[in-house]
Amino acid sequence: MKQLGSQTWQFTTRPVILGSSAVVGPEEGEGPLASDFDFIYDSLKMGEKTWEKAERALFEKASKLALIHAGIEQEKLEFFVGGDLMNQIISSSFAARKLGVPYLGVFGACSTSMESLAIASMIVDSGGATYALAGTSSHNCTVEKQFRYPTEYGSQKPPTAQYTVTGSGCAIVAKNDGSSKGPFVISATIGRIMDLGLKDPFNMGAAMAPAAADTLVAHFRDTGLSPGHYDLIVTGDLASVGLPIAKKLLADEGIPMEETTFNDCGLLIYNLDKQKYAIAGGSGCGCSAVVTYGHILKRMKKGELKRVLIVATGALLSPLSYQQGESIPCVAHAIALESGGEEA
C-alpha cells in the first residue's frame, strides 16, 4: 500500500472483490434496481419478532450470499469488518457471532459501507488476510425507532427528509492472485469531518454535501486524476437536496464533474415519482452498500462500467446530540473500483 497525498491510500496489489451481495426489503424491491438485488424480503419483519432481529437477519443473509457468490467456504474467511447505525453497532456485531472470524466493528453512519471496504482492502493489501468480508446494513424501522419516532407515529416529514433503506450489502475482498478479472479496489480516500453548522436532522443531504465535495477534491488532488477518468461517480446518499449542493460546491472549485456521470445512491434506489414515501431519496448504511454491491458491481461485471468512484457520506449525529442543539458533523469516504480486462 502506498500513501498518495494526505488522504488517499493506493492499494498496490489491487485486491479483488471476489463476490458481493445485496439483500433488501420490500420497498427497495419495488424500486428501479430490484433486478440487481440478490434477495428481496417481502415483509419488513423478515419473519423475526423484533425490528432489530430483522436487521440482523438481513445482515446474516447478505454475508452468507456474499460467501456463496465468492465461491469460498466460510472456514476460509479470515476477517470481518462491519458496522451499522444501531447503538453499539449491534446488527453487525451480533451477525458476526455466526461468522466466527476476527472482527472489527466500525461506525461511520451511512459512510460505513466504504469505510469497511477501505479497511478490509487495506488488510488484504497489506497481507493481513487472504479473504476479508466488508459489510453493513440498515433497516428503516430500527432507524426510525432509534433516531426519530415510533414507526407508526403520525408525524409529517418535510420535503428534505430521506427514507432509510432496508438492506444489507456485503463484499468479499480477496488477495489478487492474478487470475481474477475483478472488480479491483484501486484506492481509498478517507474523508475529514466537515461540519458547516447545519442542525436539522431532517435535512441531512445539505449537511453531508460539503463532506462529499471535500473528499472528491481530496481524491482528485491526491491521485492527480480528473473526474473524466471514471465512467461513473456516485455519492453515498445526498439525495435530491444534497446532490445539487455538492455539484455547486464542486463547480465553484473548478472540478469538471461534467466529464463523467455524477449521480447519487439515494436517488438511484427509489423511483421518487412513484415511491412518494421516500421523499428526497434513500439514506442509511444499506443504501450505498446495496447500490454498490448490487447494482454497480453487476454493471461492472457486464462491462458497462470500467472505472467507478463511490463516495459514501455519513451524518455522524445521535438523537442525543441533535436534541441538545448540536450541529451535524459529516464524513465521506471514497473508493475507486476498476474492472479487469485490458489495462488502461
Binding site: K49, T50, W51, E52, K145, Y149, P150, T151, E152, Y153, G154, S155, Q156, K157, P158, P159, T160, M194, L196, G197, L198, N203, A206, A209, P210, A213, D214, V217, A218, F220, R221, G224, L225, S226, P227, G228, H229, V241, P244, I245, K248, L249, L250, D252, E253, G254, I255, P256, Y277, S327
Partner: protein
C-alpha cells in the same frame, strides 16, 4: 494518463466557510415546507375528524337517548378506538404524512402517539418497554397541558371569573 486537474482550493475555502455562508449557499437548493398546502390539508382532515366525532355523538344521543354531556365520553372512547385500530394496521402514519397537524391535534393524534410507542417498545417487555415508553411522546402533552390549564385557571380566578364556582 489523464490530465491533471488544476490545483483545487476547496480545502481552504470550505474550512473558512462560516455556517451563515453555507446556509446562504445551500438555501436555494433546500425546498421549504409547503405551509399553505399543509394548512389547507390540516383544516380539511382536522375538520373531517371533528365531523366524524359529531356524527358519533349525535348517534349516541339519538340511538341511546343520551344528552350531549353523557354522549361526550363514549364518543371520545370510540374515536380513540378507531385511531388505535388505524395505528395498529399501519395506516395512521400514512394519513398523517398527508394531513399533518390535521391528524395530530385531535384526540386521535394523542391516541396514535401512545399506541405507536406502546407497539414499538413491546419488544422490550411490558414494564420497561410498554409501560416505560407509552408516554414518551404523549407525556409532554400531558405535562404542558396541565401546566397551561393551571396558569389559565389562576388567571381566571384572579380576574374574578370565578373559575368553576358557578
Amino acid at each position: 494518463m489523464p490530465a491533471k486537474t488544476k490545483q483545487p482550493g476547496i480545502k481552504q475555502r470550505l474550512d473558512n466557510m462560516t455556517s451563515e455562508e453555507y446556509k446562504k449557499l445551500s438555501k436555494p437548493f433546500v425546498p421549504g415546507r409547503p405551509v399553505l398546502k399543509n394548512c389547507i390539508r390540516a383544516f380539511l382532515i382536522g375538520g373531517l375528524i371533528c365531523l366524524i366525532g359529531q356524527v358519533i355523538q349525535t348517534g349516541f344521543m339519538s340511538i341511546f337517548g343520551m344528552n350531549s354531556k353523557e354522549a361526550a365520553s363514549p364518543t371520545v372512547a370510540l374515536l380513540i378506538l378507531i385511531s388505535v385500530i388505524l395505528t395498529s394496521l399501519g395506516v395512521y402514519d400514512k394519513i398523517a404524512q398527508w394531513a399533518g397537524a390535521g391528524s395530530a391535534v385531535p384526540v386521535t393524534g394523542f391516541a396514535n402517539s401512545m399506541c405507536s410507542a406502546a407497539l414499538e417498545h413491546r419488544s422490550e417487555g411490558l414494564v420497561l418497554g410498554v409501560g416505560g415508553n407509552m408516554f414518551k411522546l404523549a407525556g409532554s402533552v400531558i405535562v404542558f397541558g396541565t401546566v397551561a390549564a393551571f396558569i389559565v385557571g389562576i388567571v381566571y380566578a384572579l380576574m374574578g371569573f370565578g373559575g368553576g364556582s358557578h
